[in-house]
């Protein structure tokens, strides 16, 4: 039994065991979540170290090798996302614990969400991924609905969209299974031929995942769901859940469906990404609520992630790859931090309307600091993680002479600056005391602040990131 196997088993098993304990003994929920969070941060870090030292890891679950059994696979990308999940999961849980709201079911649902995400980033089996996606959606729906009132219709839309997405995805998986008799991504990648069933399967799976990633024309469900959910939940959804769907897209389009690249498919993805940046940016500009502004910014920011696909085949592939992954990671940290900070501000003010919310310092200084730092990273101010990501992506695009995508990156950054400047305008207002009774604990703002620091600090960890995201540590290799 190897160390890798133990670490992976811990990442899957611990949150699920924690979920059971938190459900059966609600009194222990907060403490068990804290224990789980600690263990998982450590396990994700350990696994990342292992990937750095010994390359791509692969394990057979239950001792049954694919195609019969299910495989687990960790490379640089999944290790990075596992770390992101651990950071956001722990920070969100801490935020929630400091908020001290009386909702005992939050904890098991949160741990289920976390466990499902870990399975998603580990699994290399298409059907196992389907089940993990379903666990993820159900937990997310329940967590969104927890906010009550207007969050119920949002939860409903989210449920419907993600069920449709997973059914369409499953149809694609069924076709692939009928074609190749395997569910393992690597096995399918080896066998893939560019015939009609495979193409249709690729299209269906992509469509399902695009729906889950809320990519431009299919983003309709995201803003209300992310804008209405409790702060910690919005943070996790925007930072990691959307990234999970993006991760699957990249994973599949790099290895098995890479064969279909080049027939203009990459360009299609790029155009979708560019459209998402523009449309999400435009809508973020006209929102009246802080949380909604941030939610639309998620739609816009994932446009950058999609630009990876048109750039993947060329000479700038490695730069673009590194850039896109770092953008997604730093976006995750920054966006989670923004949601947590805004959640704290909204609680202290009793609302989050942009025209009436108080300026810097209302409801504590820490959330505003987090807001500023996270916004800086989102925008790409050097030396933050966001800057590094955009810089690499831009260099990749320049290296390939892909002027269209260079333009898109610049335009997307422009839009980001435009809607973030609305935050800046709020910042300069005089501070206001909210009508709140019973101040929330000042500790509530701490997790968001830590995440913001991490988003900025990512820019200082570039050598490590470069190594983790080098082409040697990509399962299946860069195309």
């Amino acid at each position: 039994m190897s160390q890798a196997n133990t670490l992976m088993a811990v990442l899957v098993g611990v949150p699920l065991v924690g979920a059971i304990i938190a459900f059966v003994y609600p009194r222990l929920a907060v403490s068990i979540t804290a224990v789980c969070a600690g263990v998982m941060v450590a396990a994700a870090a350990g696994l990342t170290r292992l990937v750095l030292s010994s390359g791509v890891l692969r394990q057979d679950v239950g001792g049954w090798a694919a195609p019969l059994g299910i495989g687990w696979q960790v490379d640089g990308l999944s290790a990075g996302l596992l770390l992101l999940t651990a950071a956001v999961g722990a920070a969100g849980a801490a935020h929630r614990a400091f908020e001290a709201l009386e909702q005992p079911f939050f904890w098991p649902l949160w741990l289920f969400l976390w466990g499902a995400l870990n399975v998603l980033f580990l699994s290399a089996d298409l059907f196992n991924l389907y089940v993990a996606l379903e666990v993820l959606s159900l937990a997310a729906v329940a967590l969104i609905a927890m906010a009550g009132g207007g969050a119920l219709p949002a939860a409903w839309r989210y449920l419907l969209a993600s069920m449709l997405g997973s059914t369409v995805y499953l149809l694609g998986v069924a076709l692939l299974y009928g074609r190749y008799g395997a569910l393992d991504i690597a096995l399918i990648a080896d066998a893939l031929e560019t015939d009609l069933p495979s193409a249709l399967a690729a299209a269906l799976i992509t469509l399902g995942l695009l729906l889950k990633a809320a990519v431009f024309p299919l983003h309709f469900w995201l803003p209300s769901a992310h804008g209405r959910a409790p702060a910690a939940v919005s943070a996790a959804l925007s930072a990691v859940v959307v990234a999970a769907a993006w991760y699957l897209l990249v994973r599949l389009w790099f290895a098995p469906f890479g064969a279909f690249q080049g027939n203009g498919v990459g360009v299609l993805f790029g155009l979708l990404g560019a459209a998402a940046m523009v449309w999400g940016g435009l809508l973020a500009l006209v929102q009246h609520r802080l949380k909604m502004l941030i939610a639309y910014s998620t739609v816009s920011q994932f446009g950058f992630g999609l630009l990876l696909l048109p750039l993947a085949g060329g000479v700038g592939a490695e730069l673009a790859w590194r850039g896109a992954v770092v953008i997604v990671l730093s976006h995750g940290l920054a966006k989670a931090s923004l949601f947590l900070a805004v959640g704290g501000i909204a609680r202290s003010q009793g609302h989050d309307r942009l025209d009436a919310v108080g300026g810097f310092g209302s409801g504590g200084v820490l959330p505003w600091l987090a807001l500023v730092l996270a916004a800086a990273s989102l925008l790409g101010v050097p030396p933050t993680g966001g800057f590094a990501g955009k810089w690499w992506l831009l260099q990749g695009a320049l290296a390939e002479g892909a002027w269209l995508w260079v333009l898109a990156i610049l335009l997307g950054t422009l839009f980001t600056a435009a809607y973030l400047s609305r935050l800046l305008a709020v910042l300069l207002r005089p501070a206001q005391r909210g009508p709140q009774t019973g101040r929330p604990s000042p500790l509530t703002a701490l997790p968001g602040f830590v995440l913001a620091l991490m988003a900025c600090g990512l820019g200082l960890a570039l050598p490590a990131l470069e190594r983790l995201l080098s082409s040697a540590l990509v399962a299946g290799g860069l195309p």
Binding site: V24, G62, L109, V141, G181
Partner: protein
């Protein structure tokens, strides 16, 4: 006899399509729900035709039984079920849907037609002796792809938690007529439910059956006895046993998956020789939890801490 089979398939397919259309596109919510229940019934026949008795069993128990009960009781609880006007929006989008639907259908059928479907039948056959059971489907579910099943039982538990998190159990609308036959029916049928699910559980290792149909039948039995007016002995209370029973199957599988690692095995790898026993134990725990989860799903909310007075709703 070839033409007989063809006619049978054709009739079944036509009926299924018609029912699906009824369920999704025609006015009258009750009619839709009934159509869907019958759809499930006929799907069970389709599974039989496709040589999938395991799925037929599950469809009969879950599809035709539990889903029907869920849908009907939800329908009764919907306050605003009035449907004004057409069940679907204006027909202006027909110009989009007919070509788009036709194209999708054509592509899908063509693609499906072209599939060689190599399948994993041989690998399953080869590995079957090591799996500890003789029924290949059970072997796949509880051994080869046990991680899927773990997550699936997790989904059931999660659904129950999600439903509890949405609020308290809505007060049941008691039957308008208190028929003396109802409690008698409950008393008469309950032992049968227990018997049949025990039988299915036992069958599972060597023939179609196993935890899923058994748990579903047991869960349906629980729903029926609640409908018949029996006082559930399980409460939503933290101290009650329900939470434990709900998580039992999931906890047992997780404990096993992690526990074997203490023996030096990789995650979820059964120690050689013990596979048969382990699968049986897992099936028992999973079956119980599935039954409990189905009842929880049916109750549509967190049950009260004490049943007296509160839940009767009168």
């Amino acid at each position: 006899m070839g033409w007989l089979v063809l006619v049978f398939d054709g009739l079944l397919a036509a009926a299924l399509i018609w029912l699906a259309w009824q369920a999704t596109h025609t006015p009258g919510l009750f009619r839709s729900v009934i159509s869907f229940i019958i759809f499930g019934l006929l799907m069970a026949l389709a599974w039989v035709r496709l040589d999938a008795p395991d799925i037929a069993l599950a469809e009969a128990a879950i599809g035709a039984g539990a889903t029907g009960a869920l849908l009907l009781s939800a329908l009764g609880r919907l306050v605003a079920t009035h449907e004004e006007g057409a069940p679907w929006q204006e027909r202006r989008d027909l110009y989009f849907w007919i070509p788009a639907g036709g194209a999708l259908l054509g592509l899908l059928t063509l693609a499906a037609w072209m599939l060689p479907s190599p399948g994993l039948g041989e690998q399953v056959q080869d590995a079957l002796p090591e799996s500890g059971v003789q029924n290949p489907v059970t072997a796949v579910l509880l051994n080869f792809r046990a991680l899927d099943t773990l997550l699936e039982i997790g989904v059931l538990l999660l659904a129950a938690i999600a439903i509890w998190s949405l609020g308290r159990m809505p007060l049941p609308s008691a039957p308008a007529v208190r028929s003396p036959a109802l409690p008698a029916l409950g008393r008469l049928l309950f032992p049968m439910f227990v018997l049949v699910s025990a039988y299915l559980l036992w069958r599972g290792s060597h023939a179609p059956g196993g935890a899923f149909p058994a748990g579903a039948v047991m869960g349906a039995g629980g729903i029926l006895t609640i409908l018949a007016g029996a006082q559930p002995w399980l409460t939503g209370s933290v101290h009650g046993p329900w939470r434990m029973l709900l998580s039992l199957g999931f906890a047992a599988m997780l404990a096993l998956a992690l526990g074997v690692m203490a023996l030096g095995q990789p995650f979820f790898a059964y120690p050689p020789g013990l596979a048969g026993l382990i699968v049986l134990a897992l099936e028992l725990a999973a079956g119980l939890s599935i039954a409990m989860s189905l009842v929880a799903l049916y109750l549509a909310g967190q049950p009260p801490d004490h049943w007296e007075g509160e839940a009767r709703g009168e």
